[in-house]
């Protein structure tokens, strides 16, 4: 308790010293003058704050504005090519759905049905990364079956008639060959 009393006396003495040190701030005249000037400032009518419009900015700094616009355009273009465009191009859904979509869009003849499957972006889509290789033919088969009735499928063992003739015919033959290759592979699976 005595210790507390000593400490309290020390505290009071310290507060007295602090207040003495603050005497200059306690001077009435200075305090009043400062307060009056602050009051005068506060009571002054304030001008409405004007925010510079976009047009004013363009008018005052044409070069800066042009540079800003060019920069924004460049940034937008870069953003489009790097982020937005790839994400738009990226197919969504399962591989089967994707193949179906491609085949639906295709107006090619029966023989050329495999062509869309050949084109890059179909089998080379991100899907095969996720689908095991051996499942791809089965998925193709299911997709084709959904598109056409079972009867439309030619006999797998049967080789198509090879129409002899010009280069167009040989191209068709090549497409047919590929188609049957796929179907054979499907049967093996």
């Amino acid at each position: 308790m005595e210790h507390n009393g000593e400490n309290l006396e020390k505290i009071r003495q310290s507060i007295r010293q602090e207040k003495n040190a603050a005497r200059p701030q306690l001077e009435a005249a200075g305090f009043r003058a400062k307060l009056k000037s602050r009051l005068a400032l506060e009571s002054m009518p304030r001008l409405p704050r004007q925010t510079p419009g976009l047009w004013a900015f363009f008018k005052s700094r044409p070069l800066g504005a042009a540079a800003s616009a060019a920069g924004l355009l460049a940034l937008g273009t870069a953003l489009w090519f790097l982020v937005l465009a790839p994400s738009l191009r990226r197919p969504t859904g399962t591989l089967e759905e994707h193949i179906l979509r491609v085949l639906h869009q295709s107006s090619l003849a029966e023989q050329a049905v495999a062509e869309p499957l050949l084109s890059p972006g179909v089998l080379n889509t991100p899907f095969p990364d996720r689908v095991p290789d051996q499942e791809i033919p089965l998925i193709l088969y299911k997709a084709l079956k959904k598109l056409r009735p079972a009867s439309a499928f030619p006999d797998i063992e049967e080789e198509p008639d090879a129409p002899a003739g010009n280069s167009h015919d040989s191209e068709l033959k090549e497409k047919n060959r590929f188609f049957y290759e796929i179907l054979k592979h499907i049967k093996e699976v």
Binding site: N7, K19, Q25, K34
Partner: protein, 181 residues
């Protein structure tokens, strides 16, 4: 160009000056109260000025002019607490609250005194808010128990009890700081 002020404005200016003088009678109490919360005398003066500005703006809420001191102290206390909250100076180390005048004491004595003041100031800042408010009002602003009770809106008994607790807690904190340093 207007060379003369209109009479109504002049009258209101005079009225405001009179009011200001009346409120400035309690300047010492307000300044000392602010000093209790502030880091240094300069900040205390800033806080007191802010409190006076607030008071003059809301002078309409002062019903009884005899209660001006209590009313002002209440505004000053809120101003200081708001400031502490904003600046979080309560958590900062008290850097300097010592006298800056040239004195005839030795530099060692001055340094020791300043360190002691810093230690005590830190301890006051560490007090719980309720206890700190009562302690500052009593020891810095030298308000009576009744005035403190009216500022806080509490009973005199509560004020006395809090003040007793504050003193004991502060003595303990000072001892703790002394042992810690």
């Amino acid at each position: 160009m207007k060379a003369m002020k209109d009479p109504a404005a002049a009258t209101s200016d005079q009225g405001r000056d009179r009011l200001l003088d009346e409120l400035l009678n309690h300047r010492d109490s307000v300044l000392c109260l602010c000093l209790g919360y502030a880091r240094d005398p300069v900040q205390a003066e800033e806080l007191a000025q802010e409190a006076y500005l607030k008071a003059l703006k809301s002078v309409g809420s002062l019903k009884d002019h005899r209660a001006a001191k209590v009313w002002l102290c209440r505004i000053a206390k809120h101003t200081c607490l708001d400031h502490l909250k904003r600046e979080r100076i309560g958590r900062e180390a008290v850097k300097d609250c010592g006298p800056r005048t040239i004195e005839d004491r030795s530099p060692e004595t001055l340094v020791l005194e300043r360190e002691q003041r810093q230690l005590i100031k830190r301890s006051i800042q560490r007090l719980p808010r309720k206890l700190r408010d009562v302690f500052i009002m009593r020891e810095y602003a030298e308000l009576t128990y009744e005035e403190i009770a009216r500022v806080l809106g509490r009973r005199i008994g509560t004020v006395m009890s809090r003040l007793n607790r504050a003193r004991r807690a502060l003595a303990g904190l000072v001892r703790e700081e002394e042992h810690g340093t």
